[in-house]
């Protein structure tokens, strides 16, 4: 996956309406009219969002403007999440070890203050 494709994917996912459209398409293909129904938006507005999703390769089936049902393309989405997921895993490991170090530091700070009985 190229950097350009990734940017397009992330940009497309940055909008709540487009994420909602993807969520709807994840449960099956739908026409523009069906996609517009749950939103307080005109069909042209939804079409605009669909174009962004199509350019990012996240949705396909747009050749015949209005009628043709759109469907989700799972691969770019999987690539985009996998890309950052590995980075996150490495740092989650680091930070979990840091948690343990911090707990120890907190515990050792408390000790000297404890008075002997």
């Amino acid at each position: 996956m190229t950097a350009h494709q990734l940017d397009a994917t992330f940009a497309a996912l940055a909008d709540p309406t487009r994420r909602a459209i993807l969520a709807r398409l994840a449960s099956g293909q739908a026409s523009v009219m069906e996609l517009a129904a749950p939103f307080a938006m005109s069909q042209p507005a939804i079409s605009k969002h669909l174009k962004v999703l199509e350019r990012a390769g996240l949705v396909s089936g747009a050749r015949d403007a209005q009628r043709r049902p759109r469907r989700i393309e799972p691969k770019p989405l999987a690539d985009a999440t996998g890309w950052l997921e590995r980075y996150r895993e490495i740092w989650e490991g680091n930070y979990q070890r840091l948690d343990a170090v911090l707990e120890e530091l907190k515990a050792s700070e408390k000790k000297p203050r404890r008075k002997k009985r």
């Binding site: 996998g82 890309w83 980075y87 996150r88 930070y95 070890r97 840091l98 170090v101 530091l105 907190k106």
Partner: protein
């Protein structure tokens, strides 16, 4: 304020990777764990058979730091120079790996914010270009595969030992 333990990773601009995480400890302890060699060695990059064999920190503006890890597939070193320092809340430094597979130095910014005895840590790595940033993340994926093989080696070794 975010819940302790949840790591957020974002790419807010073309050249950056930003991570945010809340730690259940006051800021000065988090700052210590991030800047004192004896503490850094215990958590940074030490997983699956990797240990830190060099950890030098000259914590002042213009001072250098150097880290070297030793693992099953050899040594990996990196270092840089501190550019800004506000104890215990902000550190800015350069970052460069010995076998740099990317162009130029990256700039790391560490920001610590304390609230109700918890500390929100935000780290930003800014690369010279988007291409460089993406290359770094992809290489992270590649090293992840190597790491998995290391784990597999350990599992196999322990299996044979028992």
């Amino acid at each position: 304020m975010a819940t302790a333990g949840t790591l957020e990773v974002t790419t807010p601009s073309d050249r950056e990777i930003v991570m945010t995480r809340v730690f259940n400890a006051p800021r000065r302890l988090v700052f210590d764990a991030w800047t004192k060699p004896e503490l850094i060695k215990r958590w940074l990059g030490v997983r699956n058979g990797w240990t830190m064999v060099v950890c030098e920190v000259d914590l002042k503006v213009g001072g250098a730091y150097r880290y070297v890890w030793r693992g099953p597939s050899g040594d990996m070193g990196m270092g840089g120079v501190y550019r800004e320092l506000v104890r215990p809340e902000r550190v800015v430094c350069t970052e460069k790996f010995d076998e740099a597979w990317y162009t130029g130095e990256a700039i790391d910014t560490l920001v610590l914010v304390e609230e109700q005895a918890k500390t929100t840590v935000t780290t930003t790595v800014r690369y010279v270009s988007r291409e460089v940033r993406d290359a770094v993340i992809k290489s992270g994926m590649a090293s992840g595969v190597a790491e998995s093989y290391d784990t597999l080696d350990q599992l196999l070794a322990s299996g044979f030992a028992s």
